[in-house]
């Protein structure tokens, strides 16, 4: 591509078309540009256009296109062709800085971005004169140009703030410091002087303050990794000027905007950050300056207003004080009573006040309000910063600070008492103050876990919280009501039980409040109270204590779900779940009505699932309804099926992916309640459950396996008789699952159920294939998890079909296979099997191999008899071997059975542990003794001689113990 007018012309036309709203015009133009961007001179044509085009739109469009082109193509990837010709690279680097600086702001920003992308690749080695070129512009005196340079420098250097220390990085920083630090310092001083010269010229000041802010940001980046020698030597200049700027005010720079931070605020915020950086990392060198900054920042806080535009500044400034006040060697800066009082009065209290912005959020944006207030996403708020400062000060001054605040709390409560309607915000601040003063440690699960002992939480509750909760009009002062409810909730572990019991009915009535925040808090508080533990691992609040309020509780919870804005309120749904679980049998009379409401809700949300937590708790509540009711009377299961199946069918038909794992779990729960047959409604669904598309979603696998297990347990025979053609599909699922390291244990769950519950003849023809698949996997990629599951499976097989069948099966696949499995897998690995049921299966299976398998007695397998017995005794007596070879470290953590990930497991759909051996074998050690006895009587003399020749002494002693316990002797 030549750099000529014709090409400029045609590119201009294509660029124009890329702005066309009609995709038929736009797309081909974009395609064309992509197809030519590999040509030499293409980027130079773009630069020419953005510089010279008469059309402003085309100039901006060319700038954006150029930046995107650089972003896509500049980096040279190893083994890939260089996408920008060397001549173009050189030309771009030679011109772009000047071009950027002479362009209007919109274009300047794009080019500045492009420079930093290029800089990231080329600076400093391949662009050695960039910095000098930039620095030279400092002398231009034109602050539009200077700010362009500063902005570009900022985008080049800001990575120093987050990258790891390395020789390469530090070499670059050193180079930057060598060329940049001194001119930057000179510029900083000159700019401050100019601010004084132009103190009355608002336009000049605006530009100059933007420069100062950028310079301060550059200071932060350049000082981040370590304290550079240059800045240590020039600390006086920088810190004195920073300090001066912090205390500076100029009416001309004050803005009227309440929300958006002005230039003064931005600059001062950055200076607070710079001071905090030095205080944290370079304390030794910064010490002489620190007290001045503490005073300046504290004065700044005292004189800064409540407007939102100051929020960042105020929270940065408070965080600075908070981080300094808890360091032992700065303690003295704060310990004076007047200082403390002043900080409490003028910094903390004002920033805890409920502002109109908070009030707006409380009313109109309750979700956001709750997230901030309850879930702690309030990191940058003033209240949070003030709270952190309280905590910091309490480290050394808990007593005095508590005393000072007690005075404030009392006076604010006094103000409120005088005129609640007018002064309710004072009480809000008082409660907030008490909360932040009292709470030392907190978790979602338990609320406040450590409190300030100097604050009497119970007294405050009785005197100031209870009255709000008891107020008959739940809709009056909703903020104070929400505060009161929150107080109960977070201090639940500190308040005595009788107070909590007194609060319960009051909280129940607040479920009816119109305010979303208020009724949400009430639901949340109840839910948290219901999860508190009492003595003996039971709940603190018992169903009996709840009896008088049960009906009201359930009514109000379900009514709250109908309040506007709370149709899918997760806190309420969670409270419903928790109430069911707490109340147990007491809910049975209400279930016929409630199940209708729950299924109705389910039908509604399944149209468009959007609140995952709400949906999860909804399904949990359904499970609880089923379990609690059917435990009392299992025949009611059919009425649940009647109510639920129509909705489930709809969910399955519409393939509502989020809900399928839940539906499978609820269906498993229902099916497991049936006694010994499988209703036809379930059988109709069976073939669909084998569809590969369902199994491709990992979240479906655990619940589907469980559901198939329920099918097999209840209807193994029906499947064999009426759906025998589906058996290969079922085994196909097994094959699919054992091919995955992540899911193989699920495959074993399935095959174990098949072995246990399917009539033997129905699977005879498949058995050999099953083993071949397992052996292939064992050979190809055996993991500890796989081996553990495999051992359980073969022993279950042995228990079910006998040791001879197992041995013959193995040897039919390959001669001497049985011996190899014994020697290489069973004997060395059995120690790793874990879980009581799994261990029992293995013990019984191995006992059978030892005592019921003739080829163990008189073939070449005989040499394995004693080692196998030794392994079994070790299995009984030695601690479990949980060693895992190195390379499996990672798989095992994420994928061991029981560690269910990425699947929405319902806690209340829980499955009971199934023991296929059950009571048939009480104590496997006794079984071993008895079986050995039987074997020894069948071939007298053989067993004792095998024992005496090679069983080790310890094992022999254990074995004698078993024999004695079973009162048998070997002959």
């Amino acid at each position: 591509m030549e750099l000529n007018d014709a090409n400029l012309q045609s590119l201009t036309e294509f660029l124009r078309k890329t702005l066309d709203p009609d995709p038929a015009v736009r797309r081909p133009a974009e395609k064309f540009l992509e197809s030519v961007e590999g040509n030499q001179n293409y980027p130079l044509l773009l630069l020419t256009m953005l510089e010279k085009s008469q059309d402003q739109v085309i100039r901006v469009c060319a700038a954006v296109t150029f930046k995107n082109y650089i972003k896509r193509n500049w980096r040279i990837v190893e083994d890939e062709p260089n996408k920008v010709s060397d001549a173009d690279r050189t030309a771009i680097k030679a011109n772009i800085v000047n071009l950027m600086l002479s362009s209007p702001e919109q274009i300047q920003k794009q080019l500045s971005d492009a420079i930093s992308i290029i800089g990231r690749e080329d600076f400093p080695q391949k662009w050695p004169d960039l910095l000098t070129e930039m620095v030279n512009h400092f002398r231009s005196g034109d602050f539009h140009i200077i700010n362009g340079v500063l902005r570009t420098a900022h985008s080049l250097f800001k990575r120093y703030r987050h990258e790891f220390k390395s020789n390469e990085l530090w070499t670059e920083i050193k180079l930057v410091l060598d060329t940049f630090a001194l001119p930057l310092t000179e510029l900083f001083k000159a700019t401050i002087e100019l601010c004084q010269t132009h103190a009355t010229d608002v336009n000049a000041l605006k530009v100059l303050f933007s420069s100062l802010t950028l310079i301060s940001k550059l200071f932060y980046s350049l000082n981040f990794q370590d304290l550079p020698e240059f800045f240590e030597d020039n600390m006086e200049t920088w810190m004195t000027n920073f300090h001066g700027l912090l205390t500076l005010d100029n009416k001309l720079l004050q803005t009227n905007d309440e929300e958006e931070a002005g230039l003064l605020e931005l600059l001062k915020s950055q200076i607070c950050d710079n001071a905090a950086l030095y205080a944290q990392k370079y304390d030794e060198e910064f010490q002489p300056y620190l007290p001045r900054f503490v005073t300046a920042i504290w004065n700044l806080l005292v004189s800064t207003g409540q407007e939102v535009k100051y929020d960042l500044l105020v929270s940065n400034a408070i965080q600075f004080l908070a981080s300094v006040c808890e360091r032992p060697h700065y303690k003295h800066l704060f310990e004076d009573q007047n200082t403390l009082t002043s900080i409490c009065e003028k910094v903390i209290v004002p920033n805890m006040e409920f502002r109109s912005a908070d009030e707006e959020a409380f009313e109109d944006n309750s979700e956001e309000y709750i997230r901030r207030d309850l879930e702690g996403s309030d990191i940058d708020t003033r209240r949070r910063a003030a709270c952190d400062l309280v905590r910091g000060l309490c480290k050394f001054f808990e007593g005095p600070v508590t005393a000072i605040f007690s005075g404030y709390v009392n006076s604010m409560l006094g103000e409120y008492a005088k005129s609640p309607g007018q002064n309710w915000k004072h009480k809000d601040a008082a409660i907030y103050l008490v909360t932040s003063l009292a709470s030392k440690a907190q978790t979602q699960k338990h609320g406040i876990t450590q409190a300030n002992e100097l604050v009497d939480l119970n007294e405050f509750f009785v005197n100031h919280i209870l009255s709000d909760l008891k107020s008959p009009n739940v809709n009056e002062f909703p903020v104070l009501k929400a505060d009161a409810i929150k107080y109960v909730m977070i201090f639940r572990s500190q308040l005595p039980k009788e107070q909590l019991l007194q609060a319960v009915p009051l909280l129940i009535s607040h479920l009816q409040a119109e305010s979303t925040v208020e009724h949400t808090y009430a639901a949340h508080a109840l839910e948290r109270l219901f999860t508190m533990r009492g003595p003996n691992n039971s709940t603190l609040i018992t169903p009996a204590e709840m009896a008088p309020f049960t009906e009201q509780l359930l009514n109000n919870l379900f009514k709250a779900l109908a309040l506007p804005g709370s149709e899918e309120n997760e806190y309420i749904m969670k409270a419903i779940m928790r109430s069911f679980s707490l109340l147990q049998n007491a809910i049975v009379p209400y279930i016929p009505t409630l199940i209708g409401q729950l299924t109705h809700k389910l039908l509604l949300v399944s149209k468009n699932p959007s609140k995952p937590h709400f949906n999860h708790y909804l399904f949990e509540s359904l499970c609880l309804s089923v379990r609690i009711t059917c435990k009392a009377n299992s025949t009611t299961v059919s009425s649940f099926e009647e109510a639920l199946f129509p909705v489930f069918t709809e969910i399955l038909q519409n393939d509502v992916q989020e809900f399928l794992p839940y539906v499978f779990q609820v269906m498993s729960l229902l099916l497991e309640i049936h006694s010994n047959s499988i209703p036809s409604s379930y059988m109709a669904l069976f073939p669909h459950l084998l569809q590969p598309v369902l199994w491709e979603r990992t979240g479906n696998i655990p619940p589907l396996v469980r559901l198939l297990q329920a099918y097999l347990e209840k209807g193994g025979a029906s499947i064999a008789s009426s759906a025998a053609d589906k058996i290969p599909g079922l085994l196909g699922v097994f094959q699919k699952l054992i091919a995955s390291k992540a899911n193989d244990h699920q495959g074993f769950y399935l095959i174990n159920s098949i072995i246990e519950h399917m009539p033997a003849e129905s699977i005879t023809q498949y058995r050999k294939q099953i083993y071949i698949l397992l052996f292939q996997r064992l050979q190809g990629s055996k993991t500890t998890k796989f081996i553990k599951s495999f051992l359980v499976f073969i022993n279950l097989y042995c228990v079910k079909y006998g040791a001879i069948a197992l041995q013959e099966m193995f040897d039919s696949i390959q001669p001497k296979m049985f011996g190899m499995v014994l020697e290489k897998i069973i004997i060395p690995e059995v120690q790793k099997v874990s879980g009581p049921v799994e261990k029992k299966i293995c013990a019984v299976g191995i006992t059978k191999i030892l005592t019921e398998c003739p080829s163990m007695m008189d073939t070449e397998y005989t040499k394995l008899w004693t080692p196998l017995l030794q392994a079994l005794i070790g299995f009984f007596e030695l601690p479990e071997d949980d060693s895992i070879p190195d390379d499996e470290h990672f798989i095992d953590i994420e994928d061991t059975p029981g560690y269910q990930t990425a699947f929405s497991q319902l806690a209340f759909a829980g499955k009971k542990e199934h023991d296929p051996i059950g009571d048939a074998v009480g104590n496997p050690k006794i079984l071993l003794a008895q079986s050995l006895h039987k074997l020894s009587t069948a071939c007298p003399g053989r067993v004792p001689s095998m024992l005496s020749t090679s069983l080790n002494a310890d094992a022999l002693q254990f074995l004698q113990g078993y024999l004695q316990a079973a009162t048998v002797q070997l002959v």
Partner: protein, 512 residues
């Protein structure tokens, strides 16, 4: 004047391969430094300004002041007296406190003359004055030193070591020290010229203390610098004398001898071994308690280097009861000392669990947690490494002990530091602690504890960190211990309705 940064020590961790945690790999601190040169280090080059070398010394005040032209004239003359006068005036100029005219003297072409004077054994005064002038020129930048060497001063100075006039010999010692201090290249040239035996020959019970100070300093410069290290044979030659010097009581000698040892031990395990085998470790540990900070600092540095070696080497320091001294130094008033002590601690914590147990037994966890809480940032950084090493190598019980000592709370508080690497190292420690909790079946309890200590909030925030590795580590922790993870699947043949259950033909025999 130190002209370049001298803090070039490799701070490293023992790398034991057996450990899965990558963080225990060697920690090599970047050689590039942004900071001011460390004030605690000793000088690479020194100028002789006025130190009283001998009775023959003629102080600067007594020497006439001449301007450079006159000096040039005098030095270049053939008259011994003028030459001596010129040399004296030159060394006076070169000894002035501010801006000595090193370059001017070099540019005036006097170096060749000075060097030639060095070999005039019959003119001891001239020898001495020329040696002094050259010493001061060699104390400048590398370029200045280079001029001295390129004018052939090295063999002459080495010859001068044997001078019967003690003050002349001593001036040669000094000049050679400046040349050796310039860097590995000149150091090795000196060694090849057999400077070591010539120097060691001057050590005797009668050698004056002042002379020994200079000599020890020169020896320390001959041990100094890496890339490459000084040749092993030279090191072996010097070590017995250094050990001898370390048993004297003069603080300057002790300081420089300790620095020498610190340079020799600042290398791989083989280098450390050479030092450890001399049996000097107990003495070094003793010197860590020396009241002079100039002695204590290099002794601490040496021991710090040694405990970065193998487990056996570390054990020698532990057996010398270094663990009794470290707590004291961790509470030293100077942050730089605290930092070095914490660094040593972090390396011992990277050892096997029996050494970790000794840390616990000797009460090191208390100062460790103190430093994590209230230390200077540089010390906190080392302390964080100590925690991470401890948690990756310690037994479950040891890790539990550490958590109970308050270390978990302290490192969680440090998650807000402005240093991405430190944050990453802390996240690794938290992960290690979780792995220990897993073995006890107490992950849930630990999750609650971390949340209670404000850790969950901080880790969640780190998911927005600009550093990719920090973000990933935070994300992994949240996923693993505070949320759900993902699983992977594999492909098997299927139709629309079901998977196909079939076995591929078995060709291979099974062999497990």
């Amino acid at each position: 004047m130190p002209t370049k940064n001298v803090d070039e020590r490799i701070s490293k961790f023992k790398n034991k391969g057996k450990d899965p945690a990558k963080l225990r790999d060697k920690r090599i601190s970047a050689c590039v430094e942004l900071r001011k040169a460390n004030k605690d280090e000793n000088f690479m080059k020194r100028r002789n300004i006025s130190v009283d070398l001998s009775s023959d010394y003629i102080s600067n005040e007594m020497v006439a002041s001449l301007d450079i032209e006159d000096i040039i004239k005098d030095v270049n003359s053939n008259c011994r007296e003028s030459q001596t006068r010129g040399c004296q005036a030159a060394r006076k100029l070169l000894s002035q406190e501010r801006n000595p005219p090193l370059k001017e003297i070099i540019d005036s072409g006097l170096l060749a003359r000075f060097v030639s004077f060095l070999s005039m054994d019959d003119e001891p005064n001239l020898q001495f004055e020329a040696a002094w002038a050259l010493t001061n020129i060699a104390s400048g930048t590398s370029w200045h030193t280079q001029q001295v060497v390129e004018h052939g001063a090295v063999p002459s100075f080495i010859a001068l070591l044997a001078s019967p006039m003690l003050h002349i010999s001593e001036q040669a010692v000094w000049a050679l020290g400046n040349i050796a201090g310039d860097g590995a290249a000149y150091r090795d040239i000196l060694i090849e010229c057999n400077v070591v035996p010539a120097l060691l020959a001057r050590i005797s019970p009668d050698t004056p203390v002042g002379y020994l100070r200079n000599l020890t300093w020169t020896l320390s410069n001959l041990c100094r610098n890496k890339n490459p290290f000084p040749p092993l044979s030279a090191v072996q030659q010097m070590l017995p004398s250094l050990i001898q010097l370390l048993h004297l009581s003069d603080k300057d000698i002790l300081s420089d001898a300790c620095w020498a040892i610190s340079y020799l031990s600042d290398g791989d395990n083989d280098r450390i071994d050479v030092v450890v085998r001399t049996g000097i470790v107990p003495r070094l540990v003793e010197l860590m308690s020396h009241e002079e900070i100039s002695v204590m600092t290099p002794a601490l540095r040496s021991i710090g280097n040694i405990v970065s070696g193998s487990d056996l080497q570390t054990q020698v320091a532990v057996d010398a009861e270094v663990l009794k001294v470290i707590p004291v130094l961790m509470r030293h008033q100077k942050p730089s000392v605290q930092k070095e002590a914490a660094w040593a601690l972090s390396n011992i914590a990277a050892g096997p669990c029996r050494q970790i147990q000794q840390l616990i037994t000797c009460g090191l966890l208390v100062p460790l947690v103190e430093q994590l809480r209230n230390g200077d940032f540089k010390t906190q950084r080392e302390a964080v490494w100590a925690v991470t090493n401890f948690t990756s190598g310690g037994t479950v019980e040891q890790v539990v002990h550490l958590v109970h000592s308050g270390a978990l709370e302290a490192i969680i508080n440090l998650l807000q530091v402005k240093d991405a690497k430190v944050i990453l190292v802390i996240l690794e420690a938290i992960n290690n602690i979780f792995m220990a909790a897993e073995k006890l079946g107490e992950t849930e309890k630990l999750s609650l504890l971390v949340e209670e200590l404000g850790g969950l909030d901080r880790i969640e925030m780190l998911q927005n960190h600009d550093n990719e590795l920090v973000y990933q580590a935070a994300h992994t922790l949240i996923e693993k211990y505070f949320g759900d993870g993902d699983v992977v699947g594999v492909k098997v043949e299927s139709t629309e309705e079901a998977f196909v259950f079939k076995t591929s033909d078995v060709k291979k025999t099974f062999e497990f």
